[in-house]
Symmetry: C7
Subunit: 71 residues, 7 copies
Amino acid sequence: MVMPNTLLEQSLNKRVSLLLKDGRILEGKLVGVDDYMNMVLEDTEETTQDKIRRLGKVILRGNNVVSIAIK
Amino acid sequence: MVMPNTLLEQSLNKRVSLLLKDGRILEGKLVGVDDYMNMVLEDTEETTQDKIRRLGKVILRGNNVVSIAIK
Amino acid sequence: MVMPNTLLEQSLNKRVSLLLKDGRILEGKLVGVDDYMNMVLEDTEETTQDKIRRLGKVILRGNNVVSIAIK
Amino acid sequence: MVMPNTLLEQSLNKRVSLLLKDGRILEGKLVGVDDYMNMVLEDTEETTQDKIRRLGKVILRGNNVVSIAIK
Amino acid sequence: MVMPNTLLEQSLNKRVSLLLKDGRILEGKLVGVDDYMNMVLEDTEETTQDKIRRLGKVILRGNNVVSIAIK
Amino acid sequence: MVMPNTLLEQSLNKRVSLLLKDGRILEGKLVGVDDYMNMVLEDTEETTQDKIRRLGKVILRGNNVVSIAIK
Amino acid sequence: MVMPNTLLEQSLNKRVSLLLKDGRILEGKLVGVDDYMNMVLEDTEETTQDKIRRLGKVILRGNNVVSIAIK
């Protein structure tokens, strides 16, 4: 049994790919997470339908996150 | 009487198919679940209208899940 | 006076038709329900605009359910 | 002063017309209600843009209800 | 300083115009309100894009209300 | 450091411009606010895509407000 | 490990770029933040699909914020 929160903390300093509720995909190095699944990413890239934007260091609100793929 | 949470815990290590609020379907092996129905899937495949993407290990936020079909 | 929760528990082992927030209709035998109106259905069929899919045993999140028709 | 909950309980066994968040209109005899405004209707008819469906006995989740017109 | 709840209670027996989240406008005499801003209107008229419907006595869920204009 | 609630209370009797979740813009004199950021505006004007409507005194539910610009 | 809230407080007096749920982007100097991630921005510019608007001093509700990029 792998608790979701435990896996997320074990993923610190790994690259993750986040799918947001509005369909955006953010990929970056996970450097922080709290109990609400708010996260801090570094070297973040945002992919929308046809564009990639480099966002650098980003704080993400957990309640907009659909899923987190561990790289 | 089968409590939803009990059935979900009994489904650990089985393949499940999740329907998300945005219409995506994720299929994978259920390896973790918590009280909020956040889940961890392995060997995950995402199906949208016309594409399949392999996502590997994925953490899912329970509040985006509509239904969980047990394989 | 018929309390909604009481009627739902009395409907165990009957077929129910659930309307979900996204317009899907799920029909199946109700075999479990909890205090959040999360439910377990067996022999579930999903009807969308023009398709029927057989889903077997399904766990449903109560907060995606609009209405429950008792057969 | 008419408290909303009091009026709803006084409306038991009357016909009511419910407007749901997705625009559907459900009309039926109100036979049950709880503190969350979950309701039980009998002889329910659902009206969408161009169709009427007879649904019989229906449980409704209060958080999908926009307004309740008393007949 | 005018507290929103105080103004609402002072508006009892006045006509109010409610804007709902789905864009509908309901106008009627405010005859009841509770702590969740659930309201009871009498002589209610609903205006959508091109139609007016007379609804009589209506219970409104506060969490669907965007704004309340006092006549 | 300027706390959001403090700034809002300091803005009493000033004109503010509210952006709502549905894209409407309301402009008026802020005469009341509570802990949920419910607000009371006077001399309110609503701007949608191509129309201006004069609304007079308006109560606004805080959870529909996206942002508040201080004039 | 960088907690999201800690990073946000360290970003006071820096320029940040906020992505909102409705797709708007707000950029400004962060001068205040509370526990709900409500924020105060100064010298704020709003970018929608094809327009830039200068908004000056703005209060933002945290629950409409998707992500915060630190400049």
